[in-house]
């Protein structure tokens, strides 16, 4: 019995053209027994940053609350919104604080960062459970279906996808990956972050 697989669940994030997408399944389980089909693992951090927290469910909630607190403190002290790069390092150092008794979570970060010229640049990152950062240019995956997500994403993803095409790509990648994973599934949620709006859609999936 692995702690990382105790509750199940998977998250993926992808880069598009002036947009990013992050998506997860909605299952909460106790090993093979399904408990909930509406367990959110992705949380808004700012208007342009979303954070996915697949792993042990108790730590999903604990870390969500901890990051909410730390980001609020940052906003108050700095009198500005946190940028995705900064937030990624906040995630990394928060996890590394518990180097020898870790939170069993592998976070995924997706957001748009502000450029000096006032534009927006897509940003995604993922870390392991002790905060080792991975800044990828294409897509990042985490959770019990990670190997399946890698395989499908490698086949479907292409550079510079427009928001609607990115939505389709990430949705198909996630749905087909979780359908081959017993610990993930039971519905999906997808967020596409663009410079002027966020598209959030809940997808119906197989319930087995």
């Amino acid at each position: 019995m692995s702690i990382m697989e105790y509750n199940g669940g998977s998250v993926i994030a992808m880069v598009g053209k002036e947009c990013v997408a992050i998506a997860s399944d909605l299952r909460l389980g106790n090993q093979a027994l399904g408990i909930s089909s509406n367990f959110q693992k992705i949380f808004p951090v700012t208007d342009r940053i979303y954070l996915g927290l697949p792993g042990l469910a108790t730590d999903v909630t604990t870390l969500q609350e901890l990051f909410r607190f730390r980001v609020n403190m940052y906003t108050i002290k700095e009198e500005r919104e946190i940028q995705p790069e900064t937030f990624a390092h906040l995630v990394s150092s928060t996890l590394y604080e518990r180097r020898f008794g870790p939170y069993f979570i592998e976070p995924v970060i997706a957001g748009l960062s502000q450029t000096p010229s006032g534009g927006f640049k897509p940003f995604i990152a993922a870390t392991d459970l002790i905060g080792c950062l991975n800044f990828a240019k294409d897509f990042v995956v985490a959770g019990t279906a990670s190997s399946k997500l890698f395989g499908v994403a490698e086949g479907l993803w292409e550079p510079d996808l427009e928001p609607e095409d990115l939505f389709e790509t990430i949705s198909q990648t996630l749905m087909n990956a979780v359908d081959r994973d017993a610990y993930s599934g039971w519905g999906c949620v997808v967020h596409v972050i663009t410079k002027d709006k966020i598209i959030t859609r809940t997808l119906k999936g197989r319930m087995d």
């Binding site: 190997s147 399946k148 490698e154 086949g155 198909q172 087909n176 359908d179 081959r180």
Partner: protein, 266 residues
């Protein structure tokens, strides 16, 4: 010294003895895992069977060219993945049985019969199995493309597509999406095709292997794609393909072709 042992607390050496003569266990592990991935897709009148050519043990690459896909007859191709020594021996034994069949009946064994033969041969070793996953591809007697997939002890099933081996978890969900159109809804008034054309299948096979090579350390080096065409099937899709070779033996039946491609070697 059983009496003495019983007076001594277990695990502690006797003060006057040099070493404790405890029970020793030796074990020989007859199996190893040699990585790699295989894949097969059936079409209406063709079948495509592919495998990479890397052979590894742990983090070491033993060779960059060890074929995992073998032509059995002009209508049957077998891909074997898992423990390479078992795989090679198994193919050898299947070929021997097919030769005996040819001598006895003056014809090649039909595909569905080969599939059943493989089941019997695998199950015969139920308690010391060939540590291999088999995928058999080819043309049935009715001229349709077929894929049969097996587990190491002979459970088998006819399917339209199957991936096996190290990168099965990467490739199979991609195939579910692209071959079975899983999670895709056809436009109103239309339906998904039941069989894909050969050029599309070849593209998907190459995409699957380049994807698996990118993300899996045990997949790479080379790619061998076998194409089996039904009797009278058009070769148009195969014309102009770089480095294609025909390996058909008989004249008036099914035809077998091999396409070789390079994969990343890192």
């Amino acid at each position: 010294m059983p009496a003495m042992l019983s007076t001594q607390p277990h695990g502690l050496p006797h003060p006057h003895m040099q070493t404790e003569q405890g029970p020793q266990q030796r074990q020989f592990n007859p199996y190893t895992e040699n990585g790699g991935t295989i894949l097969a897709i059936a079409g209406k009148d063709f079948s495509v069977i592919a495998g990479d050519t890397r052979q590894s043990e742990g983090y070491s690459i033993q060779t960059r060219y060890a074929p995992k896909v073998f032509r059995l007859t002009d209508r049957a191709v077998l891909a074997v993945n898992g423990f390479a020594a078992d795989g090679n021996m198994f193919v050898k034994k299947v070929r021997q049985r097919l030769e005996w069949y040819r001598h006895a009946h003056a014809k090649d064994m039909p595909l569905r019969a080969i599939a059943r033969l493989i089941q019997t041969m695998l199950y015969a070793r139920r308690f010391f199995p060939y540590y291999v996953y088999n995928i058999l591809g080819g043309i049935e007697e009715d001229g349709s493309g077929a894929v049969y997939s097996f587990d190491p002890v002979g459970s088998y099933e006819r399917e339209a597509c199957r991936a096996a081996g190290a990168a099965q978890s990467l490739v199979q969900p991609f195939l579910d999406n692209q071959i079975y159109f899983k999670n895709q809804t056809p436009a109103p008034g239309t339906s998904h095709p039941t069989h894909l054309p050969l050029p599309t299948v070849l593209k998907l096979v190459i995409d699957s292997f380049t994807g698996a090579t990118e993300r899996h350390i045990e997949v790479g080096d080379g790619l061998e794609i076998y194409v089996v065409l039904a009797k009278g099937a058009s070769t148009q899709a195969l014309e102009g393909i770089r480095g294609i070779q025909e390996t058909t033996v008989t004249n008036d039946g099914e035809r077998v072709f091999i396409i070789q491609r390079e994969l990343k070697k890192d």
